[in-house]
Point group: C2
Amino acid sequence: MVEIRMIPESEFVRVRGAVTDRFARHAVLCEMSRLNVLAAVKRAGSGHLGSSLSALDLVVWLYDEVLNVAAVGPESPDRDIFFSSKGHDVPGFYAVLHSHGIVPEDKLLMLRRMGGLDGHPDAGIRGVEVNSGSLGMGISKGRGFAYAKRKMGRGGRVLVMTGDGELQEGQNYEALQGAAHHKQSNLTVIVDHNKVQSDKTVDEILSLGNLDEKFATFGWRVARCDGHDMVAVDRILTEFAAETRRPQILIADTIKGKGVSFMEHPISLKEGGGLYGWHAGAPDDESFAKACAEVMGRVEAGFAKHGLGEVGTKVVVPAKKETAPPPLSVMNELGEPVSLAARDKHEQSVTTEYVADAYGEELLAIGARRDDVVVFDADLAADCRTRNFENTYPDRFVENGIAEQDMVSMAGGAALSGLLPVVNSFASFLCSRANEQIYNNASEGTKIIYVSHYAGMIPAGPGKSHQSIRDISLLGALPNMVIVEPGFAEETKAVLRYAVDDATDSVGIRLIIGPSPRMIKPPAGYRLTFGQGTALTTGADALLITYGPVMLHEALVAAEILVEQGIGLKIVDLPWLNRFDLGWLAECVTPHETVYVLEDHAPVGGLADRLFAKMHPAGLLEGRKIHVLGVEGYPACGTPVEALRAHRLDGASLAARVLEDRKGQ
Amino acid sequence: MVEIRMIPESEFVRVRGAVTDRFARHAVLCEMSRLNVLAAVKRAGSGHLGSSLSALDLVVWLYDEVLNVAAVGPESPDRDIFFSSKGHDVPGFYAVLHSHGIVPEDKLLMLRRMGGLDGHPDAGIRGVEVNSGSLGMGISKGRGFAYAKRKMGRGGRVLVMTGDGELQEGQNYEALQGAAHHKQSNLTVIVDHNKVQSDKTVDEILSLGNLDEKFATFGWRVARCDGHDMVAVDRILTEFAAETRRPQILIADTIKGKGVSFMEHPISLKEGGGLYGWHAGAPDDESFAKACAEVMGRVEAGFAKHGLGEVGTKVVVPAKKETAPPPLSVMNELGEPVSLAARDKHEQSVTTEYVADAYGEELLAIGARRDDVVVFDADLAADCRTRNFENTYPDRFVENGIAEQDMVSMAGGAALSGLLPVVNSFASFLCSRANEQIYNNASEGTKIIYVSHYAGMIPAGPGKSHQSIRDISLLGALPNMVIVEPGFAEETKAVLRYAVDDATDSVGIRLIIGPSPRMIKPPAGYRLTFGQGTALTTGADALLITYGPVMLHEALVAAEILVEQGIGLKIVDLPWLNRFDLGWLAECVTPHETVYVLEDHAPVGGLADRLFAKMHPAGLLEGRKIHVLGVEGYPACGTPVEALRAHRLDGASLAARVLEDRKGQ
């Protein structure tokens, strides 16, 4: 494994003390933070490098030369407020906070881990002002801070960084008009205009047109410069600070992946055949070593130039796949700890089956036979596995950019015209940002398929903005919306065929985004039947109903642990989250006094609520105990195992909870 | 009562046949439709006159001179698609459809009544293309139609009318950028730029700036003219039809209330001391007579000028307060129909207590003692009763315009700064349009009070876009959000004090917007207690738990009907919709085998779901039958009584349902 090195805060202090020219100093500090960004993301195994690097020169400049945060402390009410609306660039931001002693080294190196730093900004972290990662909210939040500073007579100004792709979100224009109308001259926006979205250029996805003119028509003072030219940035921000009538916006032309030659977008786009390769995810060992060598070379050159001697670095202890021991010992009924052999065995049986791949394959097949199917995307074509459809049927693929509301309402118009739209985004954004638009469409009685990718809590590294534990609740009260989550590849294809060919209502399909923790083999003769589930294990002592690959795996682990205790847990995969065949349900639950409903969702508004409402009038709750196991509180950030354990939803914890319940009886 | 007259379709046919100059013809047809708009709104008792009249000249012109809809029929796939995004102007739109024989006379006169025409457009009505009324979705939907026309090789173009206030919604800018990027030259937008929002000018609420330049920077072809000058409109729309590269937008400068002198905005604003008085609601008899006299004078002058003789009009039969008999006879246990004397008695006891007034009063009182409370508004200050606060504490009132997302996120920034935001809008818009923003704020752990006005199904005249039967479900899965709906004025004040002074979590307060059907007197010694409800009647035969003035009234009516049958129904007002005191709950339900939960909400995601989840683990469902009575399907449009009856949620139906259940036992 490649060695990871980082530069401790003390070296930043040394450089600041020694280099007096602020531009020369900035040049060295940037390269040092760049190295730390690479280290943090590499250790985490994921993170957004491209935009961390495009924004880094600006963020370093702000904290060293503009903001008073390091001077007055991140708790002072008179501090300048700075945050990034896009939030994806947070590894760079954390590196800068670390260089000022605000984020300690051990935290920096715990990016996306429990007890470390969330994968998107979280206001609970020292130095972080807001939760972000959901795009397009930042200028509005900045307006709130700017309003409060004036009202409360506090010092400091408010600076918000935005991406360029995120300017496709309509909320930005609400905020732009509001800030101008309210004459919020203590508000400055900096656009990290790196020209590249997830993997294509902004101009290709959905052009922003002439940004300078656009912002000017919204009443803002506008300036533009090279975002890596600090002389220009300094001049403009100084002018902005003296502005008393209008909010100000700096369009900073930056380079995505700046400072690592092969991550810079002109080269990366060319090498990727038009697709940018460094938006998210950690580099492999070879690329990492190459990147570090480049950056370290410049750090060393800077140190040499200023007579600073050797660069002090530290070797970073690499992350273990599993760092923490299980928080619970699994106990048998006598209270004795139990071996986790069964669990370990299954940890090794991890496969790389992606239900999203199965979705993409079936969608492509449907495209060949159904000319009325039109696929809508909000700049997540690779993640949502619609890229093959896009390339094969470009005239039936609509790219709306990061504009979920427009996407959903446009799909509504297409549906009224007799087309069958299949609308894709992450669950957190699709069901939430475009909720009223989904309601409006549904109220028209047309059929639309909404595919909510990245449903559920896992992966847990990106944090609360991306983990989706409310989406079932957000669609649940629509009278004509069937909500389904398949548990494995074959079921995914069957669910999509059902949605396209058989359903009369609109259909919400939940899909996890990551690999399935295990390849689930349904029983021989499996077929998807409306309102019915499939038993995956036998077991007479309790019934556990769940859905989706993540929770099915944890349930099966629990069953395997429990069987060693002589306890039989019957696991049922129930993909139908709000439509049930009552006869099947009665047959399923009747043999069991104890029923667990395991949710990859909050305990409110998910499958369990619907089961209670269905079972009670049928008398199926009588003499039966239903335990709802859902994601309580906000979803934890960390590795999948860390997050599942934190919520006591991993297999070992589930087994322990079953044992606790039996003891408590 | 004043006489209402309307002009039948045959007279429009006669004018079209006789007047050959299209501009002269248009002038007459407009005045005729104007009279019918007044008639329809007066008969309905509500409706948006101001924007119906500002847009009317344009809509009449479109249907007579531009669109092929009347020629090919509203079912032809090759028809031009036209609709209004704002939807509020639908009385004018219906009048025009009627003048072309698409909407029959009996429907036109059944505006906002069951079996008639929805208060906002509904695609189920002949000639209506989309459901609208939720602002800012129209251009996106138009994009869907325009895309489908091209893809399917259909004839016709797409024209979308928007308001100007609704251009504050960010989704418009998503749609503008998308349509330009996709070169949707078969899409035309017409802005009914009448300069006035709910009751203030657009420039005062939240200025749109230079609209011409703004749209041009979004890549659209832009033109502007007097929207009442059809020569100019004709020239521009003809030019637009020949455009092959860009979508086009016509900014039509119009006058709100056009054609009724005292409803025209320059005069009305002056007379209202800066507040426009004719946005919504029907005119009183005197104003109506004056308006009709003005308009009829011009109709008659037009007929005279063109030698058309007498204007044929019809006297409109006024609406009865209650048109339909109860759909169900109420039967006693022997199956005999039962007198509705009890009900009638309470129909007469209607008071004008508004919980919204109590909210406004308490908010003002809180403003005096809590300097940290800041009130946010999205152009509904009068409806939400925040106008007094605005006028008293202007520096603590933030007007965001019709931009709920910006409002909520701005409140989030203010809350992070230590202020206590009280955020107001209609439930349908606030909980839905800004859902992801509410989640983002809540995930930061700050406390914000969201006041969802117009919660529930009543009033039912405005239709699905405004009736809110999903809002509890939309907030329910937030772990730190307490949801409350007070049942009467005193409770409303107590709930707001709880939210401001005592709550540690964020609080969602639901309020009905209309008058309370009865003044509820709580028992002596009433005080709001966290998680507990208040019994309003005694009764040993069944328990009914509900919330909010609308359903409490219906429940009490049911109890009063049932008591005549010797059946005692205990009514409990439970304002806490997702937090319960288990001890109280157990005491409340224990004496009863039969429990009704009556929802002013869909049966999914409301109070009943939470009660099931709370009661089951405590064993409180055992031996007990819970009946959930909620708004099934989409909420019906009509008078309150019509809509409640349609869902079998009025008191008589509730009583009948209780009797049916007893027979079925």
